[in-house]
Structure formats: C-alpha cells, structure tokens
C-alpha cells in the first residue's frame, strides 16, 4: 500500500487514494472503461487518414483529388479514372496485424461478391485489393499490386491498405441531411422505397448489409439514393461464424441501428437485421430522434400520417419473425401510404451545401385531425355567432350589428388556422349583448375593458383546447394566439365603443371625441390584428414554398406577399378612420366643404383607396408568382387573403350604406319639415293678426265704467290720472274730475332720456301718470304684458312709483308722454292667469320632441352655448299665436323639479315664431346644469285682454299767473283756468251756464261752487272726441 499522497491522477488531476487499483485513479479507470471508441465492424485502432500525397503514389492508376472523409474504418478519397474519364471514390482501410493470409483470401472472396452487386441504388464497387505501404519499416518489399487478384498481405501494422474503388456519389449522406434539417416526411417517404429496393436486391443476392445507418445512405444531387458500404462490415471483420459477443456485451460502434439479435445472438442474424436498421433510420428521418426505450410512434411526435406508425413499428419489432420479412414489403406499404395521401410525391431534397434557413416544420402528408377541426363544429359556431350578431343588431341598433359583422369579416381569415381569434370574437359579441341588455351607466366602460381582460382567461383555455402541444409549431401557434388576443381585445373594445357602444352605454360622445377615439383605436386594433394574423400564418405554415422559375432552388416567399400585407395593414386603419369620420360628421349639419375635417376626410379616403388597391394588386401579383402550391397557407393563402380582404370589407360596407342613405333622407326630410313649418308659422301669425279682436278674449269695460271684473275674480281698475307729474301734479279721476284730496303721492318718477329719441319733443306738460291697478284673488298669479294706450303715446312708457294713501300701499303707475295729449285714451292690457298647458316636450336624452297640441309643430334645437350671449341657449320654433297665448319654457330636472326659464319670444324684427331662453353662465356651469335637465317643455296659456275705454285726460291748467285766493275758491280757480291761458276760450253760453240770468249773471269771479257743466270748456289740442265735454253722471 502506498502512503504516497502526493500523487495525482494524470487524467483528472485529483489526488490518488492510498489504495488505488494498480496505482491508478479509479474514477478515470471507470470513465475510460465506459468510453467506447466507435470502431464499427472491427476491433481496429482508430484510423488517422493519411494525406492525399501519401496515398496517391500507391494508386498510380488513379488521379487522387481530395480527401472526402473518414469512412469509419478507413478513409475515402475522391479520384478520377483517367482511362474511363469518370469520378470514383477510393476507400482504403489499413491492414491489421492479425489479418492473416486466410483473411486476405476471405476478403477477396467477399469483395468479389460485393462487386457483383449491380443496382442503381447501391454504390457500385469497381475494384478492390490490397496495396502495400512503400515506407514500411519492417520488410514487406514490393509495391502494392493494384487490381483485383493480388493478395499479398503485409506483416506488421500500418503497412498496407485494403482498398475499394467505388462509384463516386456526389451528394450528402442522410446524417448530414437530417442534421441540416432539410428533410421533410414527404422526402423521407421518397427515400425509403429506394433503400428497400437496394436491400431487397442485395438480400436476393445473399448479401446482408448489417450496418444500415444514416451515414451509409447517400443521396446524390439528382436525388437518387445510394447505399454504401454494403457488406463491408463483414468483410473487414477478422472473425467469422463462431464469433460472438462476450458477456460484457461489448458492441462496436453505436448499437442503436443494430437489430437486437445482432447484439444478443449475433450467430442468428439474417437479412431481417437490415430491415430493423432501416426502421431505426426511418424513425430518425421522421422524428429526428432515435427509437430508444419506450419511444412514441412518429405520428405523436410530428405531423405525419398515422399509418406510417405501423410501418415503422413493424420494422422495429424485436423478434425477427414478427418483423417485415422482406424489404419489398416495406416498400409497398410505404408507397401505398405516400400515394394515397399526397398526389405528387416530391423528389428527395437536393443536398446543397448551402445552409438553409431555420429547419422547416415537417409538412403534412395528410392533415392531422385536430381536436375540433371537424367542419360541422365550426359551422355550428359560425351559426351561433351570426345569431348573436342578429340579436344584437336588433337590440342595439344597426350600427352595432355592422361593427360586429365587420369585426367578424376581418377575423374570418384567421379562422383558417387561428380558431382562438374566432372564439374571441364570439366572446366579444356575447359580452356586447349582455352589456347592452343591462344598460348600465357610463362607468361601465371601465368594467367592459376589465372584463375583456377576464375574457382572455377563457380564451387562453380555448387556445389550449384548439392547439396541440406535442408539436413545436402547435406551441408556437398557441403562444401567438394568446398574444394576438391580448393585444386585439382592448382596441376592439375601443372600436365597438366608438361605433355603437357609447349609445348602448348611454355615454354621450360628440363627433370630435368619436373621431379621435376611433383614430386611436383603429390603427392599433386593425393593424396589429392584421400583422399578427400574417405572422401567425407565416409561422404556422411551411415557410418554404417552392417558387418555380427561381434560379437557385431556394424556397422563399415572394416579396409581393409581404408588400401586400403591409399595404393591407396600412389601408385598413386608414379606411376605418375615414368611415368613422364620415359617420361622426354626418350628424353635424354644419359640416361642409372647406373645413379642416373635410380635407382630412378626403385625404383618408384617398389613402385608404390607394393602399387597398395596392394590397389587392400585390396580392394578385404574388398569387401569379406562386404556382403549384396547393391550398397551403404558406404562400398562396396569404396572398389570397391580401387580395380578398378589401372586397369582403367593401361588401360588408354595403350593409352600412343603406343606413347612411336613410340618415341622409331623414336629414332632408327634417329640413323640408322645418321650412314648411316656418312658412306655416308666418301664415298663422298673419291670421292671428287679422282675427285679433275676435280670437282673443277681451274684457271691455262699460262706457263710463273704469273697472273691469274678470271671471276669475280679478279686477282691473283705472284709479286715477296725474297731469304734469313733475310740476303741479294734479290728480284727476278717470272721468276727468279733479281729485281734491291729497290722496296720491308720487314717490319715484323715471328719468327722462331725451337723447333716446331725439326727434321727439319732450314736453313735460304732456306727461301723464296713469294709475291702473289689478286686484287679484288670493293665490292667483298674473302674467301681464306691457299695456298699450290708444291713441299710442310716444315711444316710451316707463313705470313710476306712487303711494295710494287711502289703501296705504305702494303701487306702480305708468308714465306716458303724449306728443299731444288726447281727450280720452283706451287702456289695453293682456294678462294671463294660467294654468299652463304643455304644448311640446323635448327630451334632451333621446333628442325626440313630442307635440301635445295638434298643429303646434314645435321644432326644438339642440341646446348650445352662445358665447356671445354668454349663456346656454334653448331655442324652439313654433306655430303658436303669440298674441293669443302666453308662452313659457320650463326645464324639468332629473330630480323632478321644474325651473321656469326666461322665455323670449322672438328677437326684434326676427321671426315671431322663434322663441328662446337663455341660461346665463359659463360654459362649464351651464353644461353641468344642462346635464341635469331631462326635458324642456313649451307651455301656453291664453291671454286675457282687458280694455278700459274713455279714460279722460283733463286739460292742464297753466301754472303761470297768480293763483286765486286759496280760501275762497273762485270758479276760475276751481276750473283750474289760468288767466290768459290760450286754452281757455270762454264761450257765450258760459254766463248762461253759470246761472247768470235773473239776478246777477255769474262771472268768473263768482264764488264757487260753480257747476262745471255750466262751463263750456274747450279742451286743448286736437280732439279725437268732438263731443262736448259732459260731466258724467255721478256714481
């Protein structure tokens, strides 16, 4: 036992244990014991191929060109036979020391048998033999004799080579092809029959390959399969029949291709071992993996025909008796499957040295039935979706149906592969219906968007349901489907909301908001969706589409397909924005050419048209370039979709066009109605003017009576008049008699505004203060117009405040100014006492007006903010007779209250049929107020006109002149006559009237009282009433 602990193992560098087996590191010993050097077919040392220069002298009959590769046991060189002017492959295997003369003899015998194999799928052997290495250190004189018969064996190792001159196969072996990923199952199915042919032929000739593996199967540039190294495993093995494996089971090379009996019972191996090896190779070609342990059948690993499973498994049977017994049986089975599933079998791949793109996904020989790929199920789903769409259309209006339909049309192309997008649309439609039926408030938009996120969860599950995971592309499709759904749903929500959802959700969205929301929602949704659909289609399908007519047989999708899809991706959002803009502005009657929106719309329309045409044209061009590809998604279907998307969308738009036409017709109808109603209003007003006195209720006071009692208990009374209110302020009763007591007091007189009407001469003496009073019963309200006088005074009537001492109240009197004071006036006032009856109701929510009175024909305008007036303006045009009816507008609020608005019936000089109310305030404040208004109501109540006729305006006494003795009033004073007043013209009858006769005729200086009727007073000014002034009978 060594106690030397300083030693380390040269292999692994770890310190050696004290007791190390043979002084060596046990770990490294075991490791090397595990390693097997792949020396197929023989227990020969690893061979280091000599260079061309070393080998060429040995073969003077050949022109060696280059070393091609290691052939396992030996080296292979490319050479030329100048005599025959053909390329050959020279394979040399070094001679081993234990190879005796018997070996050489057996070698030649076997090789001769091989050389007799003549089959297009077997690499032909032209020559074989041995050569001696010229630089042999231990004897061995003589050159190696070429040709077939010389069999001088060399004595020591490294002294010579066995050689074969074989057919040169310009191509690659199957291992290289599988590793480069240039093998599809279809091509594998084309290779296998050729291998079977070769095997069958060889087996018939009694030769078993025993070493079938991908390295030994060559494919030349023309696609022909050639099997190499036939039987060489046996030839170059030094042992023959009694050899068997040791209990240690040491196997030369990788045993994976060897049949079980080759490993376990090598004495009982026959041609069926080759069939097993073929099965292993076949499996490896299809799946890329070896069938080790419990391996899954090929159809479970890749998309291949299920029937191939049986063929492969049958070839891989452990018991030779249970296997295919003949290679030809394998061939017929494989060919049967190949022809029944693919109409045209493609030739094996041309093994170019170019490294191609990413390994293509194994194409389908026949489509693997997906879990829900049966057509009836898809049709059923389509029917359900259409039914949902129809229901929603009926409920939420035509726009909702169109938008959903447009979405489905857009997504229809994805149905081909990405069924999850279909399911997403279905969920979307169902969600929209639910939301519409529930009719929630506007914050539900947030809820909808959140719910869309939750929709992703079942969509996720559906993606799992639709896509298998045991294929790499299935996984990829699934991931892309999830991504597409998550990216697609929020913009779709936006789009739906803009197009129809805001109505369903009772959210007001004006044209601008619609426009910009749509512009934001559409590009992200549509563009993303389209691009993702394309990406999914690209990745899901075989990207290598054979394109005929290309110089190098590289499989590429033509650029036209990409360009068509780019144009499509651009055109769809642009076109959608255009449609949205048109839809939003059509509601605004003020939209007209010249606005910025108009220009933008034109640009969008132009852009969409150009891009759409481009996508169609490019798609057609791409389709023309791709010929021969069957209905595969890869090239042709993508091009087709680029071609057909816009025509389909335009067809869908035809569903929408009738809507727009209908709306245009509605607009026109509305305008005509408006014009008609305007003219009708004018007519009505004219008629009202003509029938004024008859149509209106007028209460006329009896002659001599200065009070009117109305039916409802209201009393209108002309109480008193005041002449010269700013001066003498003499009060008179309406019958013209002087009001002696100081019963009335003037509190407030309005200021004169002389410059208001410069042409009017304000004559203070011509001012009259009229005190007319309403007495109303308790609880009634009066709504009066401005009173009118007949004859009309000057242009202004102003209110004045007086005090009625007897009734002890303050009252309002009208100050009027006559240019020339008439003798009598008529006082005319229109009043209304209610009740108000509604004429027309306009709902601000539904934008619908209801006329409650026939022929009322009220046309409401949408409330809008008048920036000039600084107020919110309600406007209505009506055909009501303003003179006959009092009108008012009230606003009914959401909380049930009503608010009376100040209603103006027509601007001065404007149409009398237009009434408006102003709600003053800032835009925001009024908007806030407006939001609480449910409806506007136009109400009317008939005017009651009251006329008091014959109110006397007594002449004014001149202020100048001495005033008589106030204590003893003289007639003159009583009469208020002013000396020298031009208004006074004593008539002859005056004396008579004064009682002058018998005694002393009365004079003006006679004491009072004089009877005024005895005086004949000529009123001043022109007289309307030429009747002599008569004293009215005393009440």
């Amino acid at each position: 036992m060594n106690t030397d602990s300083d030693r380390t193992c040269p292999g692994c560098g770890m310190p050696l244990a004290s007791h190390a087996p043979g002084g060596l590191c046990p770990a490294c010993l075991l490791e090397q014991g595990l390693a097997t050097e792949a020396v197929p077919g023989g227990d020969r040392p690893p061979f280091h191929p000599p260079s061309v220069a070393e080998v060429a002298p040995l073969f003077p009959q050949l022109e060696l060109v280059e070393w091609v590769g290691k052939g396992g046991m030996g080296a292979v060189y490319k050479a030329r036979q100048p005599g025959l002017d053909r390329w050959v492959a020279l394979k040399i295997v070094p001679v081993q020391a234990e190879d005796g003369a018997k070996f050489a003899e057996r070698f030649n015998r076997e090789a001769r048998a091989l050389a007799r194999l003549n089959h297009p799928n077997i690499v032909a052997v032209h020559e074989f033999g041995q050569v001696t290495h010229p630089a042999a250190p231990t004897g061995g004189a003589g050159e190696g004799a070429p040709g077939g018969a010389a069999d001088r064996a060399s004595q020591s190792s490294g002294l010579g080579y066995h050689y074969f001159v074989m057919e040169y196969v310009d191509g690659a072996n199957l291992r290289q092809l599988v590793r480069a990923g240039r093998l599809s199952p279809r091509e594998a199915l084309a290779i296998v029959p050729q291998v079977c042919d070769a095997l069958q032929y060889a087996h018939d000739e009694g030769v078993v390959h025993r070493d079938i593996k991908p390295e030994n199967i060559l494919v030349d540039r023309r696609g022909r399969v050639k099997i190499a190294d036939f039987g060489l495993a046996k030839i170059l093995a030094p042992q023959t029949s009694e050899a068997r494996l040791t209990v240690a089971g040491q196997v030369m090379g990788t045993p994976h291709y060897m049949a079980p009996e080759q490993v376990e019972r090598p004495t009982e191996v026959d041609h069926r071992a080759d069939i097993y090896s073929l099965g292993v190779v076949f499996y490896e070609m299809l799946t890329g993996e070896l069938p080790l342990g419990k391996f899954p059948p090929p159809s479970r690993k890749v998309q291949v025909d299920v029937r191939l499973d049986d063929v492969v498994l049958h070839a891989l049977e452990k018991e030779p008796d249970r296997r295919y017994q003949q290679a030809s049986e394998v061939k017929s089975d494989v060919q049967g499957i190949a022809t029944s599933s693919a109409p045209a079998a493609t030739p094996p791949p041309t093994p170019t040295t170019a490294t191609g793109p990413a390994p293509p996904h194994p194409g389908s020989v026949s489509p693997r039935p997906g879990r829900l790929a049966q057509m009836p199920s898809v049709l059923w789903l389509a029917l359900v979706t259409l039914a949902v769409v129809a229901v929603w259309k009926a409920v939420a209006g035509p726009q909702a149906g169109w938008s959903v339909l447009a979405e489905i049309l857009l997504v229809a192309g994805l149905v081909y592969r990405v069924k999850v997008a279909y399911v997403a649309t279905l969920f979307f439609a169902v969600l929209g219906v639910v939301v519409t039926l529930l009719n929630p408030p506007s914050w539900a938009l947030v809820v909808v968007v959140v719910l869309n996120g939750l929709v992703a969860l079942p969509v996720w599950l559906c993606a799992n349901w639709f896509f298998p995971t045991d294929t790499p592309q299935g996984l990829q499709q699934r991931r892309l489907a999830w991504t597409a759904t998550l990216l697609w749903l929020p913009p779709l929500t936006c789009l739906w909301f803009v197009l129809s959802g805001h109505e369903a959700l009772n959210v007001d969205l004006d044209a601008d908001a619609q426009f910009y929301t749509a512009l934001l929602g559409l590009p992200s949704g549509t563009g993303l969706g389209v691009l993702l659909a394309w990406a999914m289609g690209t990745l899901a399908a075989d990207p290598a589409t054979p394109v005929h007519g290309e110089a190098d047989s590289g499989r590429r999708t033509p650029w036209q397909v990409f360009a068509a899809w780019a144009a499509l991706a651009v055109s769809l959002p642009v076109g959608g924005a255009f449609l949205i803009l048109v839809q939003s502005v059509r509601r605004d009657p003020s939209w007209n050419p010249g606005t910025a929106e108009y220009v933008v719309t034109l640009l969008l329309a132009g852009g969409a048209i150009l891009a759409g045409l481009a996508s169609v044209a490019l798609g057609l061009s791409a389709r023309r370039r791709i010929r021969g590809a069957p209905d595969r998604w890869g090239g042709d279907a993508r091009a087709s979709m680029a071609v057909w998307t816009w025509p389909v969308l335009l067809a869908g738009a035809l569903l929408w066009v009738p809507d727009s036409e209908k709306i245009r017709a509605e607009r026109q109808q509305l305008a005509a109605r408006l014009a008609e109603q305007t003219s009708r209003t004018e007519i009505a007003l004219q008629q009202a003017a003509l029938q004024e006195t008859e149509a209106t209720a007028t209460a006329v006071g009896a002659t001599g009576s200065y009070r009117i009692s109305l039916g409802n208990g209201a009393v209108l009374e002309a109480v008193a008049l005041c002449r010269d209110p700013r001066g003498a302020a003499r009060w008179f009763w309406p019958d013209g008699t002087l009001c002696g007591e100081p019963r009335f007091e003037i509190l407030e007189l309005p200021e004169l505004v002389p410059t208001r009407r410069p042409q009017i001469t304000i004559v203070p003496e011509n001012e009259v203060l009229c005190y007319v009073r309403w007495s109303l019963p308790a609880g009634s309200r009066i709504h009066s117009q401005q009173p009118t006088f007949d004859p009309p005074p000057s242009d202004w009537e102003l209110p004045a405040k007086i005090r009625d001492r007897e009734r002890n109240l303050e009252a309002q009197a009208e100050l009027v100014c006559f240019s020339s004071v008439p003798h009598t006036v008529t006082y005319d006032v229109a009043s209304s006492f209610g009740p108000w009856s509604p004429v027309s109701v306009y709902s601000l929510k539904t934008k619908v007006a209801r006329d409650l009175v026939p022929n009322a024909l009220a046309l409401w305008s949408e409330p809008r903010y008048d920036t000039q007036a600084g107020a919110l303006r309600y406007e209505v045009m009506h055909t009501l007779d303003r003179r006959a009816y009092a009108l008012r507008m009230i606003a009914r609020m959401a909380d049930g209250q009503t608010e009376e608005l100040v209603f103006h019936t027509g601007p001065q000089g404007g149409s009398p049929a237009k009434g408006y109310a102003l709600v003053h305030g800032t835009e925001a404040a009024t908007a806030q107020k407006l939001s609480q208004v449910l409806e506007l109501v136009l109400e009317q109540t008939p005017w009651v006109r009251s006329q008091i006729r014959g109110i006397v305006l007594p002449p004014l006494a001149a202020s100048a002149g001495s005033s008589p003795n106030p204590t003893v009033p003289t007639a003159r004073a009583a009469a208020g006559l002013v000396e020298g007043s031009p208004h006074l013209r004593a008539q002859g009858s005056l004396a008579r009237n004064l009682g002058i006769g018998a005694a002393v005729p009365p004079t003006l200086d006679s004491p009072w009282p004089l009877q005024p009727e005895e005086l004949a007073i000529v009123p001043d000014g022109p007289m309307r009433d030429s009747r002599p002034w008569k004293r009215p009978s005393q009440p």
Binding site: S18, R109, Q250
Partner: protein, 264 residues
C-alpha cells in the same frame, strides 16, 4: 462464394481468454449461478459465492467502519454477517436487489446490521458457520489511510467496491500480458498509465521513443490493451449481475463512476 444462406454471422470481437463453462451466455455469471442454485446446495454455487465474497468483503468493512463503529465492532459485524450470509439465509428475501450483487450484498448487510444485537447474542464468533479468513489488519490500515471524504457509508461502500473491482481487473490484465510475452509485464507497466487517459491525450510520440517502438506500433499496442481492459472490466461487472445485458453492465459502471463524482 460461400454463405449463400441468409444467415450470416456477425463477427467482430475477441473471445475472453477463459471461455465460459456453459454455452449459454447469461448463465455464466457467478452471481447467476448462485441465484440459480437458490438455497439448495450446489458445489459450484458455493464456490461462486465464496469467490464473490472474497473479492468484495472490504467494501462491507468500509461501510461498517464508515458508520462510525470501532475496529473491533466492525470486525465482529462483518464476520458475523458473512457467517450468516454464506449460510444462504438471505437468498430468499430481498428479491428486488437480486439483479446486482453489489446492491444485494449491501442490502443484506443493512438488514443484518439492523438486527445485529440479536445476532451477536445468538451467533458466536467463529461458530459453526463458515469462517472466512479475512485480513482484518490490513483492512483497518487501509481504511485508516483512505482520505477522509465526508462520504456516506453507502458512498464509501460503492467506492470500495469499485476499487476492489478494478483491482481484480487490472490484476487479470497484468496476468494476461505476462502470460503473452516475456516483456509483457514490463509493457503492461508502461502502458497501464494510459488506461486513465483519453485516446487523444495519450502522448504517443514521446512514449514511443521511450519504449523504442514506432509510434504506430505503440498505438496499436495501447489500443489493444485498452480494448482488453474494457472487455475484462465489463466481464467482471457482469459476473456480479444476474442478467448481463450490455445496458445493465453500463448502468452498473455508471453507478460506480457516480460514486466518485457525485456529492456524497
């Protein structure tokens, strides 16, 4: 041309120097012989078992010592275990482990240790059971000198087993080389160092000069030695297996290799 029948032999390998007794491949392992014999007595079964135990008793000792027992206790226990084991009392039970002798032996030992205190009382040392004369002294010394990895007893057992196995293999290899050639033993001594190296790492050129051979000849010689080593290794492992499938041999080799590489 001969061999026109479909059955063609595959020949590729050297037969082992000691040809197996029977024609059937799989019944030639010692362990298989022991198992086949069952509890019945068969002389070759006894012999086979004896031989197996002689080869692999140290790992048991290492295991028991690794458990923390003293030298005397370990000696007692291993001796006692073999006394019982060689009486074949264990061969009925523990059927799951029968494929591999190594695992079987350890399982039996564990089973034995679990009931040790009964055993100690029941069986006397050096009783009527078979007595294996084992070299306890060197065993203890050897155990003491081993680097103290903090390996679990199982790990220590496996390692010791592997070392015992490799010892046997190298011993046989050396014996073969010596029998072949006069200078065979010397050649073996030179070449055996290459057994731990990979084929690329072997410095053929330098070694050839030192040995006075051509490089090519040295390559061939080394290659043959390595090949023979592998054969013997597999054979030795197979002797402890019930069914010597190539995959099982590899598996056993991997387990032994793992005893050195993986964490305890």
């Amino acid at each position: 041309m001969e061999a026109t029948q479909p059955t063609v032999n595959a020949g590729s390998l050297q037969p082992p120097p000691s040809p197996p007794q029977s024609g059937d491949l799989f019944a030639t392992t010692r362990w298989t012989v022991v198992l086949a014999a069952g509890t019945g007595t068969a002389p070759d079964a006894d012999r086979a078992l004896d031989e197996l135990c002689r080869a692999y008793w140290y790992p048991l000792y290492a295991y028991v010592r690794r458990q923390g027992r003293s030298r005397e206790d370990a000696e007692d226990l291993v001796q006692g275990f073999f006394a019982t084991f060689l009486a074949k009392n264990y061969l009925e039970g523990l059927s799951g482990e029968r494929g591999r002798f190594r695992a079987f032996l350890l399982a039996c030992l564990k089973h034995f240790l679990a009931n040790e205190h009964d055993r100690i009382h029941r069986k006397k040392r050096g009783g009527q059971a078979l007595h294996l004369s084992l070299d306890w002294q060197s065993a203890d010394t050897r155990y003491q000198l081993e680097p103290s990895h903090d390996a679990s007893p199982d790990r220590a057992y496996d390692r010791a087993w592997a070392v015992a196995l490799l010892d046997r293999v190298l011993g046989r290899l050396e014996g073969e080389c010596a029998a072949e050639d006069q200078s065979g033993r010397i050649q073996f001594q030179r070449a055996k160092d290459f057994l731990v190296l990979g084929p690329e790492a072997i410095p053929y050129a330098a070694a050839a000069q030192g040995a006075g051979m051509t490089e090519g000849a040295l390559r061939v010689a080394v290659h043959r030695l390595r090949r023979r080593y592998r054969q013997l290794l597999r054979e030795e492992i197979a002797q402890t297996l019930a069914a010597a499938q190539p995959t099982q041999v590899e598996e056993e080799m991997r387990s032994l290799f793992a005893a050195f590489t993986s964490a305890p």
